[in-house]
Symmetry: C2
């Protein structure tokens, strides 16, 4: 009967007997070390900076330990730099912020270091042409599902797709006016990543489904790029009624 659903229809979930749940009821992850692979790129540096300023221990990883170290020194706030393998090995939660082209190969090279870790994929497989951004097809369905396929011993989540690197890196921006959609198949991991997102002022981690529904969250970045162009903005997303 529910093999499909009418246009736009979202099942009603609120009844008087089931009070709303608070998305801020999350575990304390303050003592966990966060690694950022691709940590010298714009998005990686932006997330590393914000998390470190919020008090998280952060290591940025790069192919070159030297480049990671100098990017870390530039960011300040206690951020350390290391080669990718060291970054992965010494972190509890590892954010994947590499360009899409290098995604699979990087993860394949770090399966051992990433085993047992929470992996947070924030890669958007996109192409550009004269009409703007579009979504690339991924054999596994999405970058996050590719990560899960390559890393069977890690717990893969997906998050931080839509936040503007420009705003993350702008020290004059005190608060980020956006929620972070967090996806994953294990509650413990999505809770931890939601808690991580929620450490950054203004941000809130909101659960947004299983990894099989990651493609459209990754792809929505192409839409936000169109929105940014139309309005000359750095669009973010707030989830309302949560």
């Amino acid at each position: 009967m529910f093999s499909s659903v009418s246009a736009g229809r979202i099942a009603p979930m609120t009844t008087p007997s089931s009070p709303k749940r608070d998305p801020r009821d999350l575990p304390n992850i303050d003592d966990l070390v966060v690694g950022v692979l691709g940590g010298t790129g714009e998005q990686g540096r932006g997330l590393a900076y914000r998390l470190a300023v919020a008090g998280q221990k952060v290591i940025i990883g790069s192919r070159s330990a030297d480049r990671a170290a100098s990017a870390a020194a530039e960011l300040g706030a206690g951020v350390r730099g290391a080669d990718n393998a060291t970054c992965a090995a010494e972190s509890d939660i590892v954010i994947i912020a590499v360009p899409w082209e290098g995604h699979r190969d990087l993860l394949l090279s770090l399966t051992g270091e990433l085993a047992g870790k929470i992996v947070v994929d924030c890669v958007n497989p996109m192409g550009f042409d004269k009409q703007g951004a579009f979504v690339l097809d991924v054999e596994e369905g999405s970058a996050a599902q590719q990560a899960a396929a390559v890393l069977p011993d890690s717990t893969v989540t997906a998050a931080f797709h839509h936040v503007s690197a420009v705003l993350l890196l702008d020290p004059n921006v005190e608060s980020l006016d956006t929620d972070i959609m967090v996806l994953g198949d294990k509650r413990e991991a999505t809770d931890a990543v939601q808690a991580l997102a929620s450490r950054i002022p203004g941000m809130r981690g909101v659960y947004a489904g299983r990894l099989r529904n990651a493609r459209q969250v990754e792809g929505l970045t192409a839409n936000l790029i169109s929105t940014n162009r139309r309005y000359k903005a750095h669009a973010g997303l707030r989830v309302t009624d949560v």
Copy 2:
């Protein structure tokens, strides 16, 4: 060089010489007649009700003119009911709010009546299993692209995917706390649909890209269903910095 893009990176667009644009700078569409095909379903009735209360002339269409008329009478606010072909023929802007299974056939049957009209597709091709909602593959890429393929003489847009039918239909809800992502390839049409969305209190129509990027906007409904289940909410989306 821009064949792909780094994780989460959204190009900066704001410079001191290019002031932000206002998403409320839109044409006046108050005199246009809005048809809603599938207007006796939850989403269709909800949109018809809100638009009519906002002062728009609204016709709901159904296979059965009688069923349309009785649903229209129940909604009040001046909503009229008609069979689908009459609804399409007498409207300037036609919202497609039918179940996904009937989408292609309905549009094929109305190519003449919909010629020259602005069509607003709000259909979400989704399936459900014990893990929740998931996105169905569509040959044309998305429901909206299928509409564009079937209706070469109409101007197809996509919008109203994420708004909760429950909230639309609840007369105690005075304001809808959500933006409406509007997609399409012709500015005049997306502007009109944004103006339409913006007539409903609380709602704002925000441009969100071309039809080729409709799949992920349609699919995101599956994620919002997961969010609704987790938090017992009726989640909507606000686009920030716009």
